[in-house]
Amino acid sequence: MLSLIILSVSGIAVLFLGFLKSRWILMPAAMLLLLAALLVTCLDWNNAAPYVGGFENMMAVDNISVAFSGIILLSALLIIPLSRYHASQPNAQPAEYYAILLFSLVGALMMVSYENLIMLFVGIEILSISMYILTGSDKDNLRSGEAAIKYFLMGAFATGILLFGVALLYGATGGFSVSVIAGYVQANAGNLPPMLYLGLTLLLVGILFKLSVAPFHFWTPDVYDGAPSVFTAFMSTIVKTAGFAALYKILSASFVDIYDFWWVSLAAMSVLTLVIGNITAVYQSSFKRMLAYSSISHAGYLLLAVTAFNDKSQIAIIFYSLAYALATITAFGVLILVEQTGTDKYDSFNGLAKREPMLALVNTIAMCSLAGMPLTAGFFGKLFIFSSAVERGMVWMLVIAVLMSAVGFYYYFRVIIAMYMRPVNDDGSGIVRAEVEVSGLYKTVLMLTAILTLMLGIMPDIISRLF
């Protein structure tokens, strides 16, 4: 919980560091502060006692929230070095940029450890508003501005719906606290007012919108595509993880008793998301847009685990979020480098293996992990999710999920084909080394994510044994 304070303070500190002439200090400073926040978060593991009853019961710490916070902070720590090219653009404002990143994490952490719907709302807003700004931060790029406006309008609308849901829940139960709502639901089981059902539905719509679950996904491709790649990485990992943590939290803390009410709609949306995300991803010619649709499809798998909602889902969601975050960061890391000289189309990856074998290899590992190939983290992520779904007896939904995984192999391997099997483009686009110098830190991040992906694929127990 201390990490919230560290992050808030460090956000302000970084803002002031911007007054210094030597701007190079910003990135190391932001990383160090983030590392401190991550370590402090880890200290809370199995150590919830000091927080019991604290903060007027607005926030709570348990191992689940610590795990989610860990994933979020780790992802942020890995993404910051990738912002090197973005932050060194002529009219970039690196200090503001790093500060907003750190502030947005405060919102993300609130979303995973709230005890009160007000905190959930505040967390979502802090995260979202930071994201609106960052999406539009590429000021010379019209598409970046378009994406920001789209994201802001749709996001503000969704937040309104969420808030309406919270208000209705308050009206029905007389409280904002998840435990009060849980108590009310338990006490009046079988005789719940329609207002509560409506409130829950609207609350879910608000959260699912942020998670880009179909049919609330229409903003995703344009926003992910228009935003600078490094924020797309940020949005598709950190926002997703925080959102799923929030979703799982509210369902498990307050609405276990009316599982029969909400599981059907979640199941239907999960199937819809899987089908739309995967099928549309096939038709993309841009790697970045493909990753946007792939992020929709992964929301579908995660939602499957939420729908299954048993003792296996928790670990499945945590493991999958981590696996997905690592692979996505690698993919965007490589994409950012390729974009420097080429475009975000598949063609720009042609022959990458000949020029930059290391980049091609880590990207291959990432794609295999996203596709769910054995020996990568993604395989066990899928296995855990499938397991929890089978245990719930959702075999027919799984058949669809399995079919869609096969579709996934198709589009993830297209980039592998481009990298390894096609010759280098005649115009030389996509050749990374020629003009772009890749820093040691950048390479380290890519290697680290690839190694972690393989490690989790070989020894998944290092995560699953924790719980």
Partner: protein
């Protein structure tokens, strides 16, 4: 421990090989493959067919899910491990006359494939089996996709997606079976065997598993990837695909289908036998019309695997034993035949039947090798193909006289397409292209001589191989019968 050694030797070699530069890596790869063969031969010498699963190893892997890293070999596994260990050094040796780009990665992929194949044949845990099953696909996909012919990208991609599609359904079935095991669940093979599903469930689990195996073999109508992929792949990849990878499908049926869903097999067995018989006839008839020798052998391989599958699904001891022995025989023959194609292609830069003829005049030694391999493939008595094919047909005949009779046509059709091809290629007038055809080199003979020796050895003394697998095959059949 021997089993683990067999998995690790090629795996470690595959990891180290990319560190080497240049064409020297082929010798290193060959040495590693020979070392592997030595270990495999030692394992055979220590092997007791009657003693069930041997050389077992078992380590907890994903403790939270009860997944074990465990393996071991019974007779069937031993035979296939032996096949793999014999073929891989020969496949590597067969490339000595040709230099591939990035040889270190090329040979590392071959060895990685060997490791995964041994893993498939020895895994004693459902998820470990799946892991090796997928791991075997990746190296051969890259071998075919990077070093293959002109149309390689689209064709190998089709192959890849096709097989992945099948395997994912297998994963679904394995996860489902895993959750039917009692207690905290386990994916060990004996626990999966102990699961007794009701017949209706067995029906769909059967298809979920079988579709993966059917695509891998391939069985009609799941075969459309096969002729193109075999034709476009570089020779070593074609040999790996047809010689060893195809056996993964048959092995999967024997080990992971028959004993697990016997009622499903009983219900759908006839359908599968009919599909297999259709494949036998269809493959043979198309093979007769081929102009491209490599494609012709691809269809012949498709026809042969149909007969093996029909034999397995006859659920008779004869049919199963025939299939197991035929897996070994077919592996040896088809690798030999594809190597002959490669020899011809290296010299003539074409595989077109119309441009050939009269090769025998300049190359008597090649003629002899080719003839023996071809006769083994058409199952002439005293060659290795005869034993397996005879038992297979006997098994299918026992299952149903009519199917047996139709499947028996394979002998006639096989002789037609093989002898026709042999006549076009080797005999007759020399063409413009075959006039300067050089006979086999020493390195090429070094590959063909062991293969030809195996053709005769298995043909004259099949008893040793049959005894090796009989207890294991009986055990599988008993297990399947006891659960029905």
């Amino acid at each position: 421990m021997l089993t683990l050694t067999l998995i690790l030797v090629p795996a470690i070699a595959a990891l180290l090989l990319p560190l080497l530069k240049g064409q020297g890596s082929k010798y290193a790869a060959f040495a590693a493959a020979l070392a592997q063969l030595a270990v495999a031969l030692y394992a055979v010498s220590q092997f007791d067919p009657a003693a069930g699963t041997q050389f077992a190893f078992d380590y907890p892997w994903v403790a939270s899910l009860g997944i074990h890293f465990s393996g071991g070999m019974d007779g069937i596994s031993m035979l296939l491990v032996l096949l793999t260990a014999i073929l891989v050094p020969l496949i590597i040796l067969s490339t000595f006359g040709h230099s591939y780009e990035n040889p270190n990665v090329f040979y590392a992929l071959i060895l990685a494939m060997e490791s995964a194949l041994i893993g498939v044949f020895t895994a004693q845990d459902a998820f470990l089996f799946y892991l090796f099953w997928e791991a075997a696909l990746v190296p051969v996909y890259f071998l075919a996709g990077v070093w293959g012919g002109e149309k390689r990208i689209a064709i190998t991609f089709k192959f890849f997606i096709y097989t992945v599609f099948g395997s994912l359904f297998m994963l679904l079935a394995l996860v489902y079976l895993y959750f039917q095991t009692p207690g905290t669940h386990s994916s060990a093979i004996q626990d999966i065997y102990a699961v007794a599903l009701d017949p209706a469930t067995q029906s769909w689990v059967f298809w979920a598993l079988f579709i993966a195996f059917a695509i891998k073999m391939p069985i009609f109508p799941f075969h459309t990837w096969q002729p193109d992929t075999y034709t476009e792949s570089p020779a070593p990849a074609t040999m790996l695909l047809s010689g060893i990878m195809l056996k993964m499908g048959i092995y999967g049926v024997i080990r992971w289908l028959l004993p697990i869903v016997p009622a499903g097999v009983a219900h759908w067995g006839t359908t599968v036998v009919i599909l297999s018989v259709i494949g036998i006839i269809y493959g043979s008839v198309i093979a007769i019309q081929q102009k491209d020798i490599k494609r012709l052998f691809a269809y012949s391989s498709f026809a042969h695997v149909g007969l093996m599958c029909a034999g397995v699904f006859s659920l008779t001891l004869k049919g199963m034993q025939g299939a197991v022995v035929q897996m070994l025989a077919h592996g040896i023959n088809i690798v030999g035949l594809f190597f002959v194609v490669e020899i011809i292609q290296r010299r003539m830069r074409t595989r077109d039947l119309d441009r050939m003829g009269g090769i025998t005049q300049n190359s008597p030694v090649l003629t002899v090798f080719f003839m023996v391999l071809m006769l083994g493939s058409v199952a002439l008595p005293l060659t290795n193909g005869f034993v397996g094919e005879f038992l297979l047909l006997a098994g299918v005949y026992e299952f149903n006289h009519w199917y047996g009779a139709v499947a028996g046509l394979t002998i006639i059709l096989g002789a037609v397409y093989m002898l026709r091809m042999f006549q076009f290629v080797m005999f007759g007038e020399q063409s413009n292209w075959t006039g300067k055809f050089a006979d086999v080199t020493l390195a090429e003979s070094a590959v063909l001589i062991p293969l030809v020796a195996m053709v005769f050895w298995m043909g004259i003394a099949p008893g040793a191989f049959l005894q090796l697998t009989e207890p294991a095959v009986k055990q599988i059949l008993e297990l399947a019968a006891s659960k029905r």
